[in-house]
């Protein structure tokens, strides 16, 4: 495996690993790790570092919705143009073009349901290319970013075993 891939595998598991620990885990030296991280960022492989948050456990937390969007394209308007206009809204947390019954899957983050509804009905639905939206509010999150949202399992192994 090349250095960038090894560093990426570590960061994808835990973006808070410091350079020395990544070096120890990959067998690279610290300078090579720093170079790999710079290259991953410069090449647009790594776009940022965020916490995986369970907003349900935060006072005055946030609400999340998955919105299906159908669009109609014309000579001047392709998926790229529509995506660009939708993505510019800060409420849009993630935006994907998907295969299947609808075109875009949009993850929207808002303060509350009304906030999200207003955003969809007032900002997204009226866009000329948009023909239909279906909003699914997320009721409960069980797993995100590859991490189960549950109270940690106790380690029930014997503390010392052969």
């Amino acid at each position: 495996m090349d250095a960038e891939r090894e560093v990426l595998d570590v960061l994808a598991r835990n973006a808070r690993e410091d350079i020395d620990d990544i070096a120890a885990q990959t067998g690279l030296d610290a300078a090579a790790v720093a170079d790999a991280i710079d290259a991953l960022e410069a090449d647009g492989v790594v776009h940022g570092y965020q916490a995986v948050v369970d907003w349900d456990r935060v006072d005055e937390g946030k609400i999340r919705a998955v919105v299906e969007i159908n669009v109609e394209l014309d000579r001047e308007t392709g998926y790229e143009q529509v995506a660009d206009r939708i993505a510019k809204f800060p409420a849009v947390d993630a935006l994907h073009l998907v295969s299947g019954d609808y075109d875009f899957a949009v993850e929207v983050l808002g303060e509350n349901m009304q906030d999200v509804s207003e955003f969809i009905s007032e900002q997204v639905a009226p866009m000329p290319a948009v023909t239909q939206t279906v909003t699914h509010y997320i009721m409960e999150t069980y797993k995100d970013g590859g991490i189960r949202f549950e109270d940690g399992d106790d380690d029930d192994r014997l503390s010392v075993s052969p």
Binding site: V10, D21, A24, Q25, G27, D155, L158, S159, V160, S161
Partner: protein
């Protein structure tokens, strides 16, 4: 009740004392655990659950389910091992049963069984229960704990009837290459020594793929290979292992097994079929994670001045602590709440070392190695 001499004289395992010391505290980070911190792959667990829902709770064939034996035989092609699933594979209740059966099937009272040490603690008692005499062959830190022809000769193993060969090794993490095994194989052929090869950690190697002594010329017919699902598939508690060997050895082992165990437990056999069919990817991910931890642990021990050779397999590092390893481990537990197992528990050659298991989370490994570094500095 009057007990048999055999039971009364069987010694308590040296690991017991450290288990009790560690259990007495509730703030311990344990690097003393000899099993994975992962759970079995979920699809293997669901296969076990499904089998229960379908009412699959009867015995299986003595040798294990045919579908499982076929997959085991296929799986071992990756180690260049070729066994007939009908005649040369026996599914057992953990690899432990397979080791016990091999001793009972291959050892006559008074036979000499050579065991390299330091090694896993169950071989000695198993040999004793089978009526054999254990001959210790110390391996050396200078050889990175590989078994050599010189150490076999020096220990007088030329007269042995059987050799136990456990690589990748618990507790050292040592592995052996084909070239190194060729020397040992030649020694066994020259002296007509049969081999029990405990290869339970074969799937957990970092760098070179596992090499088996059974694939050396002339060794297949004199070797029983033991393996299982515990370590690779994180299925320790499901107790499923197996033996591979020439027909006459497997037949003999099965003859004992049919009276003492009848068949290995049924539910885990369904989990094992699924594990072999679909869980290679998850094993590969576990191996990658162990490998990252291995590098971190080895580099941290070397940085704090406890020399540690690079272990090629299993999930143990074997740093040198110098002097009295038992005292070191006890004081470390007392002062810093970190449990490790003193190397001397694993026999000759282990003294002055510690077995450090990295089958624990990266966060705990960092915390534990920080504490050990503080302990070493203050010592």
């Amino acid at each position: 009740m009057r007990l048999s001499d055999r039971a009364r004289t069987l010694p308590e395992s040296g690991i017991r004392k450290f288990f009790e010391l560690a259990e007495a505290r509730d703030d311990v980070i344990s690097l003393g655990v000899g099993e994975p911190d992962f759970s079995a792959p979920w699809s293997a667990r669901t296969a076990a659950i499904d089998s229960l829902e379908r009412g699959k709770t009867s015995y299986t064939a003595n040798r294990g389910m045919a579908a499982l034996r076929e997959r085991i035989a296929d799986h071992h092609e990756r180690y260049a091992q070729s066994y007939d699933p009908a005649e040369e594979v026996l599914v057992t209740t953990g690899a432990s049963e397979a080791v016990d059966l091999a001793f009972r099937a291959l050892v006559d009272p008074g036979d000499t069984v050579a065991v390299h040490e330091p090694t896993y603690i169950s071989y000695g008692p198993g040999i004793e229960l089978a009526g054999g005499e254990r001959l210790t062959v110390p391996t050396r830190a200078a050889d990175d704990f590989a078994l050599t022809r010189e150490s076999l000769e020096a220990a007088g193993a030329a007269d042995a009837d059987l050799l136990v060969c456990c690589y990748p090794n618990n507790p050292t993490g040592a592995t052996m290459t084909d070239e190194e095994l060729a020397e040992v194989a030649a020694f066994c052929r020259d002296n007509e020594i049969r081999v029990v090869a405990d290869e339970i950690y074969a799937a957990l190697t970092y760098g070179e793929d596992h090499a088996s002594i059974a694939t050396q010329p002339g060794m297949r017919e004199r070797t029983v290979v033991v393996n299982g699902f515990s370590k690779a598939y994180a299925m320790t508690g499901l107790r499923l292992g197996y033996a591979l060997g020439p027909t006459e050895a497997i037949d003999a082992m099965n003859r004992i097994h049919q009276y003492t165990m009848l068949s290995a437990p049924t539910t885990p056999q369904y989990a094992a079929i699924e594990a072999l069919d679909r869980c290679d990817g998850e094993v590969a991910e576990m191996v990658e994670e162990y490998n990252r931890r291995r590098r971190l642990v080895v580099s941290r021990f070397n940085e704090m001045g406890l020399d540690t050779f690079e272990p090629g397999g299993a999930f143990y590092a074997f740093p040198e602590c110098g002097g009295d390893d038992e005292a070191f481990a006890e004081e470390l537990l007392e002062a810093q709440g970190v449990a490790v197992v003193p190397g001397s528990v694993f026999g000759e050659g282990g003294e002055g070392h510690l077995r450090v298991s990295y089958a624990t989370s990266m966060r705990e490994l960092k915390e534990a190695t920080d504490r050990i570094a503080a302990f070493v500095e203050g010592r």
